[in-house]
Symmetry: C2
């Protein structure tokens, strides 16, 4: 599986934030209740999103999260990548140790193209497209 529940839940949370995007902080407790998820688990989901600068977080009482930029400018691609890391469809791509046969591998160009096709699609989709 290329996009795991981690990425799916990240998108779920971002959609929820986009639907309650009135400038106020939205707490994980609220999101968890609406989305039927454990708030504790969502914490793990938010970390990377926050680190990537996709959401702004505020600690303490009446804290929570909110979108760092308008939903029209936030692509599904950056959400998924933030949550899961580069989602290469094949482990050859983005590998620490490149395949020693890469130079004469007949498949590698194919995988690169596939990766581009996927990322182009996901980057073109914006959060605002999903909540219509």
């Amino acid at each position: 599986m290329m996009i795991t529940t981690k990425g799916r839940n990240a998108l779920k949370v971002m959609i929820d934030l986009a639907q309650h995007n009135d400038g106020a902080n939205v707490s994980l407790t609220d999101i968890a209740e609406r989305q039927h998820e454990s708030a504790k688990y969502l914490e793990a989901v938010m970390g990377p999103l926050s680190a990537a600068g996709l959401v702004l977080s505020a600690r303490g009482k009446s804290g929570g999260y909110r979108l760092a930029k308008p939903a029209e400018e936030c692509s599904v691609g950056e959400i998924i990548v933030a949550a899961e890391g580069p989602l290469a469809p094949v482990s050859c791509l983005y590998s620490d140790v490149p395949c020693e046969n890469a130079a004469n591998c007949l498949s590698l160009p194919l995988w690169k193209e596939l990766d581009e096709v996927i990322m182009n699609f996901l980057n073109a989709k914006k959060l605002s497209d999903l909540i219509k």
Copy 2:
């Protein structure tokens, strides 16, 4: 990862078969040697390809495998699907137990589109495109 080494090796073997597609049977021992893989492991790779009708197999001495149809008519998509099963980028798709929230899931249409984008790309690529 969406396409695992099983699928990658399946494609590798199919490329090798396409490069030695003179009507004679090609044994796994030969392929394994050329591709630096264990022949035993490749056996496991061939099973699904044979079951899917992508290759023809002949047992016994001077047996082996050969392509069931010209490389121009064999798509990368069918090879990968034969080797790995439906490669849904997200587990929601092609799941035995559909998500009970599917009816009002805002992400599901996105995942379906993504799956189409991927399969359209892979089905358009033919084995002959890779060996040029």
